[in-house]
């Protein structure tokens, strides 16, 4: 009997965690497509690292671990980091990649210092804040999953509403500006959506590896299709798949951080896609090359 009740309890926890991871993977997979297509894959990394001090400050100010408050703190810090990168590029002669590296490491270092300070205070409530580094999906509660669902859902709906505007912004920003689209505002909107996707994943996946949840599903999806619509849909599915499988593996084995596990699962999807996808896949490519060579040889023999 005792066994049975732990089993049921275990299943319920696992279900919550799996739902959370699936939602997370869906949101970050879909929005990650835009980051990848704009060649801003590293921006996700900067945002997630920059978000870390925001969590600590939100906790220090409120003493609360309510997900919405921590997410808000993370979002503000991630946002400030992104703005800082953009301003550095615009106002100085420092290049984008250098600005990114400076902001990423400064914010992250500041975040680590704050987290260490919080741990020293011995506040009993602080337990669990360190999961934001590498992620621990097993700590996801119902309220966390609800937060992910609502905010992630809003982000996806906004993406769908401005679908054609965002598509044109990513494909041809000059043309978009010439027909009167406010590209600065759209740029900020798109970045904000990315910030939302990232901060939602911090608890489960962690700041260090969250950007992989944006990039990997999108890269894999691009291999299979030449339509943006399908790419976003596929990336959402791949993200959910990697999220769920990664969290389940890390939840069942004890004390394996979820971030790395999810990233490994996503890597498998990327690897398979790069190898086996039709048209763009390496295997397909090789077969086509050999066939071409054979055809060419045959044609030459006929000529002789």
């Amino acid at each position: 009997m005792g066994n049975l009740s732990t089993l049921i309890h275990f299943d319920y926890t696992l279900m919550i965690v799996a739902v959370g991871a699936a939602l997370l993977g869906t949101v970050s997979g879909a929005l990650g497509c835009y980051a990848v297509l704009r060649r801003q894959s590293l921006l996700g990394d900067a945002i997630s690292h920059a978000a870390l001090p925001g969590i600590a400050i939100a906790f220090l100010l409120t003493g609360s671990k309510v997900p919405l408050i921590l997410v808000l703190g993370a979002a503000i810090a991630g946002w400030l980091g992104t703005l800082l990168i953009m301003s550095i590029v615009r106002l100085t002669r420092i290049k984008y990649d250098s600005a990114l590296a400076i902001v990423l490491s400064t914010f992250f270092g500041f975040g680590l210092v704050l987290h260490t300070l919080i741990q020293r205070t011995g506040n009993a409530n602080q337990a669990g804040l360190d999961t934001f580094l590498f992620g621990q999906a097993a700590t996801l509660l119902e309220r966390d999953v609800l937060t992910i669902g609502i905010l992630g859902g809003i982000a996806l709906i906004v993406m769908l509403i401005f679908w054609k505007e965002l598509k044109l912004l990513v494909f041809d920003a000059d043309f978009a500006a010439s027909i009167g689209l406010p590209i600065r505002t759209l740029d900020i909107l798109l970045t904000s959506l990315l910030v939302i996707a990232i901060v939602l994943g911090l608890q489960a996946v962690g700041a260090v590896l969250m950007s992989a949840m944006l990039v990997a599903p999108a890269v894999a999806a691009r291999q299979w299709t030449n339509r943006l619509r399908l790419m976003v849909l596929l990336a959402a599915c791949f993200g959910a798949l990697a999220g769920v499988s990664g969290t389940i593996i890390s939840s069942t084995a004890s004390r394996i951080p979820t971030g790395p596990t999810i990233v490994l699962c996503a890597t498998v999807v990327v690897g398979l896609s790069i190898a086996f996808a039709p048209n763009r896949g390496l295997v397909w490519d090789r077969i086509r090359q050999q066939r071409n060579r054979r055809d060419l040889k045959a044609a030459m023999e006929i000529q002789e």
Partner: protein, 251 residues
């Protein structure tokens, strides 16, 4: 020049600078309606910047631009734009028809998606550029000339009165070049004004009826047979250093 007539494009005292380096200096340009004008000049002369400044894509340090007597913001709907082919990532996951329909986004306005009407307009434009057989083709699988035709088709569905085109002949095959020239001449015959950034001096007299010679400053502009002289060309291509030295006037 025809002072009393309405101008399709009127550029006055336009100066654009990146950091402290002037890219365009005190440009005046009047383009009457219904001409086919080429902007000609050496690399770094500011040809692309001039087009972008007319479209409000770069902010000028001084001067202003009018399209049919009104600022560009009020005239977007009657201006069509063909950016340089190399300015976009052709590996973007989309197909030919989809790119052409982007030319209708301005008229569609926010949120509304392209419908059957937009699809038909895009198909007509693709027929005009001879690309109707490629509607579902992924854009990375097109040749340079085909990509250029797709960009032209996108501008055609804008159904504009004034067209600004940045190097439409860049890296295209001879067939495409002829097709584009025919198209440009048809546009002019319809009373449209077409401004083209061009780099091939050999073809200026054949393709265009107006020319602007540009090298940071406007050297000359007007009908090709008056302006396209060897003296003006020498001034455009030979004397850049001399210009920068003599140029000390305020903005």
């Amino acid at each position: 020049m025809q002072r009393s007539e309405q101008k399709a494009i009127q550029v006055t005292d336009l100066t654009v600078a990146y950091q402290d380096k002037p890219v365009l200096w005190d440009i005046d340009l009047d383009v009457p309606p219904g001409v086919l004008l080429s902007i000609v000049g050496p690399n770094g002369a500011g040809k692309t910047t001039l087009i972008k400044a007319i479209l409000g894509l770069v902010r000028p340090a001084a001067g202003n631009v009018l399209i049919y007597d009104k600022p560009y913001e009020a005239q977007r709907r009657i201006v069509g734009y063909v950016p340089q082919r190399g300015s976009v990532d052709w590996d973007f996951p989309t197909n030919v028809l989809d790119v052409v329909m982007m030319g209708r986004y301005g008229a569609l306005g926010w949120i509304r998606r392209p419908q059957k009407k937009e699809r038909e307009l895009a198909m007509q434009a693709l027929e005009k550029v001879g690309m109707e057989a490629y509607t579902t083709r992924q854009i990375s699988q097109l040749s340079g000339g085909q990509q250029q035709r797709v960009f032209l088709a996108r501008a055609l569905v804008q159904d504009a009165t004034v067209y600004l085109m940045d190097e439409p002949f860049q890296g295209v095959d001879a067939t495409t070049e002829r097709a584009i020239v025919t198209l440009l001449q048809e546009l002019r015959a319809d009373g449209k004004t077409v401004v083209v950034v061009h780099h091939d001096l050999q073809t200026v007299t054949d393709y265009f009826d107006w020319v602007m010679l540009l090298n940071i400053r406007r050297i000359a502009s007007g009908p090709v047979d008056e302006i396209f002289t060897s003296d003006n060309l020498r001034e455009t291509y030979g004397g850049r250093v001399a210009f920068m030295k003599t140029d000390k006037g305020g903005v």
